[in-house]
Amino acid sequence: MMTAMFGAVESGVIYAIMALGVYLSFRVLDFPDLTVDGSFVTGGAVASIMIVNGSDPFIATIVALFAGFLAGCVTGILHTKGGINPLLSGILMMIALYSINLRIMGKPNVPLLAEETVITKINGWFASEWSILLFMLLVTLVIKIVTDVFLKTEVGLSLRAVGDNEGMVRSFSANTGWMKVLGLGLSNALVAFSGALVAQYNGFNDVGMGIGMIVIGLASVIIGEAVVGHSSIARATLAVVIGAILYRMIVTLALRIEFLDTGDMKLITAIIVIIALVLPKVVDRQKAAARKKKRLQQLGGSSHA
């Protein structure tokens, strides 16, 4: 049980980078970007093929990041220049990437178990069972802080304003189209980076491993916001990281239930998201009802007196 939980936290930290990407598109840009399902695998595909062909795993992971950036930019261009609806441009790119990923990989599954990866390198440097977790936590926190800082720069501010009030930023001479392209590029860069690390962590890259990734990202964002809150940017990004870890822990716990097996993962994810979306509303409504009841009782009491 403890080993399972440890693994959950470890992979949660890596998936948190993907969740930060989803936060950028979904929350900051207010753009429900389904490219994520494809670009996650693109990251893994680029990194694993480079590693198999003898590249340094760190360089391979960085190149994966750029590949994701490109994929996101294409989605952004489809939407802004092609005038395609946001959801549809993401779906189109996701489908296109499925084939592109197969082309990159050459086969549906690239094993990495015999290769030197970022994971084996770190394990070689620090011979401790904590090394992966601490290293990944460091990487994720650096990305989180860079994101926080970026969103406070002049460019970052206009990016946030695009998701908040697009007409207004345009009247302040920001090119909203290119802002969206940039935002989606950055978002998918993080997603692909995470995909590259997950492939190396799992020891293989599979063309189907991105299915439902956007929902996992959303689950992380929503769970995190419910638990940690999102009053400021720094807090919101922290919430996303914690949400991603919590999500992995919840799934691990759910899989302990006798009749559930790994095939039920996607169903569990969907149910978690539905609960995370519905539960806060139900709680609010009940709190409001309780307040109302209390007030009625107080009024009733005073009229008798």
């Binding site: 002049e154 930023v169 001479s173 909203t176």
Partner: protein
């Protein structure tokens, strides 16, 4: 400062709904001119604003701002010369961002955006100083989210954001119409104060005739896509709401026009 030459704009061309929104409208504004625009709904006032701001491209005619032909320049590209306040208090600000972040966005209207921080200590002092002009105490709430402000406060902030970087042209699109009378008066006074102080070339659309008479040095009346009446500084000073209504009736041939139909 602003030259509009023979602007023609038609919507839904070739369909039964075809509507000529602007019919060869020409308007020339000198630096420091403050023109108020009145007219009933559908007269073409908003289309006029949108053609200047670049939201719409005219079918014919040219728009020249500060000596540059901007007829077909994209909205965000010409925005460096144009400040704009919208009718909806929600439209001019970003609600989930703080007051200082909104001001930082506006600050970049005339500059290229970089990876420098939008809010620095020096800039914060500058924002605070500008906010003091509004007399609303917003200078003490720099880190408050704009979504928490009232409609009047948001509109005052929008006005400040549109003007504090010295636009060549200020466009006010019924910017007091959505506010209660006392807030509307506050914004009207602020508009007067800021425009006077900065000497801004301003074009203001309004449905409030008294406001159209109180503000500005010129007045134009529009109807069916044309400018049907203009008053220069001297003429405008002598105008009253009654005289304006009578003028409108005379031009329209007295077609049973009431105050209500002009104002609604």
């Amino acid at each position: 400062m602003l030259e509009m030459n023979q602007i023609f704009k038609v919507f839904y061309e070739g369909t039964p709904d075809e509507k000529i929104a602007l019919n060869r409208v020409s308007l020339s504004m000198k630096p420091g001119d403050f023109v108020t625009v009145i007219g009933s709904n559908g007269a073409g006032k908003s289309t006029l604003m949108n053609v200047i701001s670049g939201k719409l491209t005219p079918d014919m005619g040219t728009v020249t701002i500060d000596g540059t032909n901007m007829t077909s320049l994209a909205e965000h590209k010409r925005a460096s010369k144009i400040g704009r306040v919208f009718q909806d208090p929600m439209a001019g600000t970003a609600p989930t961002m703080t007051i200082e972040e909104n001001l930082a966005l506006a600050y970049n209207r005339t500059k290229t955006r970089t990876l420098a921080f939008g809010v620095t200590k020096k800039r914060r002092d500058f924002y605070r100083e500008k906010l003091e002009m509004l007399h609303l105490g917003l200078e003490n709430r720099l880190q408050a989210k704009v979504g928490l402000l009232s409609g009047g406060e948001r509109q005052a902030l929008s006005l400040l954001m549109a003007t504090f970087t010295d636009p060549k042209i200020l466009l006010l699109d019924e910017h007091t119409a959505a506010l209660d009378p006392s807030r509307a008066e506050l914004i009207t006074n602020l508009t007067k104060e800021i425009v006077d102080k900065l000497g801004l070339t301003t074009l203001m659309v309004t449905h409030n005739m008294q406001q159209a008479l109180d503000l500005g040095n010129r007045l134009i009346m529009m109807d069916k896509g044309q400018i049907i009446f203009t008053a220069n500084e001297a003429e405008k000073r002598r105008l009253t709401v009654e005289k304006l209504l009578a003028e409108f009736q005379k031009i329209k041939g007295g077609g049973g026009l009431s105050d209500r139909s002009l104002l609604s």
